[in-house]
């Protein structure tokens, strides 16, 4: 009983740590692709967390899938939420990837702060629209 509790704790703790690392990565890495990867990690750990919130397992038994015929299934609602969230995350990653491809073609670099600062210097003179 105690061992399982601790393992579960480790599981949740590792999800949180992954999320924190991802947030740090988003803020501190200037390269857009790295931000994107960190974002993906964040999103996936959030989804895992949601699914974990739906876990129903009396310690010592195996979890049961959410299909009719199993007497004690895990919670299907978080799983549906995860499917939705994952697909949404996929769409947003696609948006960012498209922007990244275009940006790289334009500038030859993917470092966001550089681009914004560089362009801002130009902007101080006369801004071209």
């Amino acid at each position: 009983m105690e061992v399982e509790r601790i393992l579960w704790g480790v599981f949740i703790a590792s999800l949180m740590v992954a999320a924190s690392i991802a947030i740090w990565g988003i803020a501190s890495r200037p390269n857009l692709v790295k931000k994107l990867i960190a974002l993906t990690i964040l999103g996936d750990s959030a989804c895992l967390f949601i699914a974990a919130a739906g876990f129903r397992v009396p310690y010592g038994e195996l979890p049961q899938p959410p299909i009719a015929g199993y007497p004690r299934p895990v919670d299907p609602l978080p799983q549906a939420m995860v499917i939705t969230a994952v697909v949404i995350e996929l769409g947003l990653v696609l948006v960012l990837a498209s922007i990244a491809v275009r940006l790289y073609e334009h500038e030859g670099s993917l470092s966001l702060p550089e681009i914004l600062v560089r362009e801002e210097v130009e902007a101080e003179e006369a801004i071209e629209e």
């Binding site: 704790g9 924190s20 690392i21 696609l94 922007i99």
Partner: protein
């Protein structure tokens, strides 16, 4: 205003500390320990999904039932998000330089020729059976999209629909998915009864229902319809998206 870059070390340490503390608190102290019983909502959903009684979804696979019946609106608009993403990729990537691909070997082409029909059948099976077994429109769509993309990249020559064809398929798929929830309302008006948007099966005051019977067991007909539309939309959509990323809209 330039991007603010605070000293990395401090932020890193801070975040890690917060993360570990939070995780430890939540996990080890049992705040997010798994519960024993399903919550009220889920218990009802589980009971109502597969039952054969008046208020039900006629779908043994609870997750698909939730996706399309109990929470159809979520799924519809999430497919909308994918639609937006594909629109953005089309808007941004038209005319970008394609990534050069080496010419595929005959081994690859032969394997793909075998693989493609198999993958497409698996995708169709996943989608059509989504209300009975785990699976559904998305899963099938993604499998189909990856199979199609592999086929395209390995140089299958004539691809019948072409890029604009795929766009048409995706748009049509999504459009139908949007119209389908409105049909109970329309039918309700026609027959003089009440019909809810996104209603699949009969409700106490709304008698419209869509099911088929197998060996005396009723199964939902509407969920497979949604799943197949979703299969088409997602398969077409992701093929477009990945193609745009790689080849920039040839």
């Amino acid at each position: 205003m330039a991007n603010t870059m605070v000293p990395r070390g401090a932020v890193a340490v801070l975040l890690l500390v917060v993360g570990i503390a939070l995780g430890a608190a939540l996990g080890l102290m049992g705040f997010v320990a798994p519960r024993d019983e399903l919550s009220g909502v889920s218990r009802d959903i589980v009971r109502l999904s597969a039952a054969q009684e008046p208020l039900t979804a006629y779908a043994p696979a609870y997750v698909s039932a939730i996706l399309w019946d109990f929470r159809g609106t979520d799924t519809l608009f999430e497919t909308g998000v994918v639609f937006v993403a594909i629109a953005v990729s089309l808007a941004l990537l038209k005319g970008s330089t394609p990534i050069p691909l080496s010419s595929p070997s005959p081994v690859l082409r032969t394997v793909v020729r075998i693989h493609l029909p198999v993958a497409l059948s698996v995708a169709a099976a996943l989608a059509l059976n989504g209300h009975v077994t785990p699976g559904g429109g998305f899963q099938g769509g993604v499998v189909a999209a990856s199979a199609l993309l592999i086929a395209l990249l390995s140089g299958l020559k004539a691809f019948p629909p072409g890029l604009s064809g795929m766009v048409a398929i995706r748009t049509l798929g999504l459009f139908l998915v949007m119209l389908l929830p409105l049909t109970p309302v329309a039918l309700g008006h026609l027959y003089g009864v009440e019909g809810y948007v996104f209603q699949h099966q009969a409700k106490p005051n709304a008698p419209l229902s869509a099911f088929y019977t197998v060996n005396g067991v009723r199964l939902s007909l509407s969920i497979p319809m949604y799943n197949s539309l979703e299969l088409a939309a997602i398969a077409a959509g992701f093929t477009i998206a990945l193609w745009m990323l790689l080849r920039g809209g040839e």
